[in-house]
Symmetry: C3
Subunit: 289 residues, 3 copies
């Protein structure tokens, strides 16, 4: 069944620019258009999140992302993860999935978040986050799961700001942060729920490069991806996973228990109250506009 | 029994300044005055070490500290740890506890050191070290157990200088250092027993902020504590402990074994000889003055 | 048997300069001259790698190194590891040991590499790498196993560039890198097989000091060794090993399994092909000259 999708990865001739765009959604009924992929002339795949208005990670969007990631991992030699939104890479988890939820759906939601993380963090091909806008909470953690982070700045924000909403990020979201910026900066940022601007993020190592605009972000993503693709792929992946396997396995071997912990925490009355208040504030903000 | 102490946490009206001082020793026979507490107008507790001349951590002082920490943790919403001495935050463990000791007391001493560390490191409320002077050895490690470190500088010294006395700090004193400044800087500083001045400490991340004087230290401690207290407390504590539980549990589950290791090491003739020589040098230094 | 070598550690009078040179090879049949030792006036031993032209780590050279390290550890109070080559500290593992190898010899080769690492990393006396030239792959990892790194710069290169040859460094080579420069910088450098110049290496903490020439390197190695030797040796070693025991034991307890993993990886057709191509390129390069 996977074979019929392979043509999507064949690059066609494009008069100008470096890439050819193929939206899976246009040729496959099972794709909703929430995720777009294009094959870059240099042979890797650019996967763009396309869920208006802020790429909030709902269950359906995450499932779509998971499927596409699997296809890219199997069929392509590299992955650049980006967004079609002009100022947003990804705003994080869809809050309504967690407020007064159906418990079965909540469990599936969290299991799918885990799956997307594992797929990117353990990806068999090199991965680059091309962060063309704000990257908060889940958006930050998608980027942290990649092998490299290029971000447009200095004004866009990035960070794991979960505590601001009354949520504690689980160990497998905290640890990639610690791996990127070290224990101390990570502890402080996580406790405070800090959102860094891109310049601050660059200074502490939360991103690897800051660029002026989206075009530059794609250009620099191509530069690093080209370097990654010159390394023999077996040595690249084994080296990467030797450093990531500990966390990968701790999550992968304990997904059900982690779902239990998440559900127990989210369903606490005080946490539900905070999520409700946050959604109310968002609604009022929207009304004012 | 704890109830009768609660009034101590009620802030009284103070004409100027930000805090009201209540010395437990003045209203309770079981308090010796080695530890003073005051409730800040913003609702958290300032705990001041008050053992002249250098807040050296003797068994009695540690027991007092442990009791007060428990009271603060139970009754207050935040803890600022500081000292009443004008130039000393804390000079570390009382050396005489370790030189030619009674073995039963030595064991209790070390068990109490562990307990004070665990209480601060795993504290259920936000903690800030307001380091108004030198913070060496045990003084540094009390600060490292807190969530944030504000220190007066640049001249005061901070560091785990145990090897200078011939002592190896145990894993649970070494690791908070590594968590603060990273493995390499920690290894080198611990091997050499380095005492950093506050400016150097700031540069490597051993402290979070350097200020010019004690007043500023209290002011900045209040600024960060206010930020901490804005975060929903459950998310704050769970986030903190998720990063600290590994070390917390490794010590908490192995206290007796760690006491054994400590006692075995301290009682080595070569270590006793070094401690003796150090005490002799202190005595001669005092005579010259 | 070891006693007869002890005279080598007795420093003789030297008119100028700081050290006396004794080449074990000149007085002992079992020494080939691949390793030279001298006893510094300050009482520690300078061990110089002397395998022309680039100190490539062959099985015989590694065995020699291992024996000498054991002697130094037993008889001396400190170790400075350096090279007699004017521009090379050590170029890494001898590639011909890994290309179309005899399997029994390949196993012994890797076991000996492990042994040399363990001996330096867990050395009972302080160790300083005096890196007087390029320090790549195995050369970088010998330096990382020491307690301190002084390197001549800025032009010489240092790094774990294994992936450039299609090889994945095992966990016990990766982790000392992570201990030195942190997880993120280490992951990126290891995936890309980056060779840093000495200035870059200093900036990220891969070396501790950069100096202008070999003479300065020996001078600064003496400065730090003198500091190390002032620390009571028991406290120094216990402090060091408390931070290193986890990695030391994970390798030491799993040497056979690690040999298996290494042999399985190296014997993969794709890895052999890459090593063959690399050796061919070296040969052609040599012919052109």
């Amino acid at each position: 069944m996977r074979m019929i999708l392979k043509p999507n990865f064949i690059s066609s001739i494009v008069p100008r620019g470096h890439s050819t765009v193929r939206n899976f959604a246009t040729n496959s009924a099972r794709l909703s258009g929430l995720v777009q992929t294009k094959v870059h002339d240099n042979g890797y795949t650019v996967l763009s999140m396309n869920k208006k208005p802020v790429n909030s990670l709902s269950l359906e969007f995450l499932k779509e992302l998971d499927k596409e990631l699997e296809l890219v991992q199997t069929n392509s030699k590299g992955l650049v993860l980006t967004s079609t939104m002009p100022t947003i890479f990804c705003a994080g988890l869809e809050i309504t999935e967690m407020y007064q939820p159906d418990l079965a759906r909540l469990r599936e939601f969290w299991y799918t978040v885990q799956g997307v993380f594992l797929k990117i963090y353990g990806c068999k091909i090199p991965t680059v986050a091309c962060m063309n806008g704000h990257s908060l909470a889940g958006g930050c953690f998608l980027a942290l799961a990649c092998d490299y982070r290029v971000m447009v700045g200095p004004k866009y924000l990035v960070g794991l700001n979960e505590t601001q909403l009354g949520i504690a990020a689980p160990f497998w979201i905290q640890e990639p942060m610690t791996q990127a910026i070290g224990f101390r900066k990570s502890l402080l940022a996580l406790m405070l729920g800090t959102a860094f601007n891109a310049q601050e993020a660059l200074n502490i190592g939360l991103i690897d490069e800051m660029v002026a605009n989206t075009e530059e972000a794609h250009k620099q993503s191509d530069v690093i991806m080209t370097k990654f693709l010159k390394i023999p792929s077996l040595a690249y992946h084994q080296t990467k996973m030797q450093m990531r396997n500990d966390l990968y396995n701790r999550l992968n071997d304990n997904r059900e228990k982690d779902v239990d912990n998440f559900v127990d925490f989210i369903m606490l009355p005080s946490v539900q109250a905070q999520l409700g208040a946050y959604l109310e504030a968002l609604k009022n903000k929207a009304k004012k506009k």
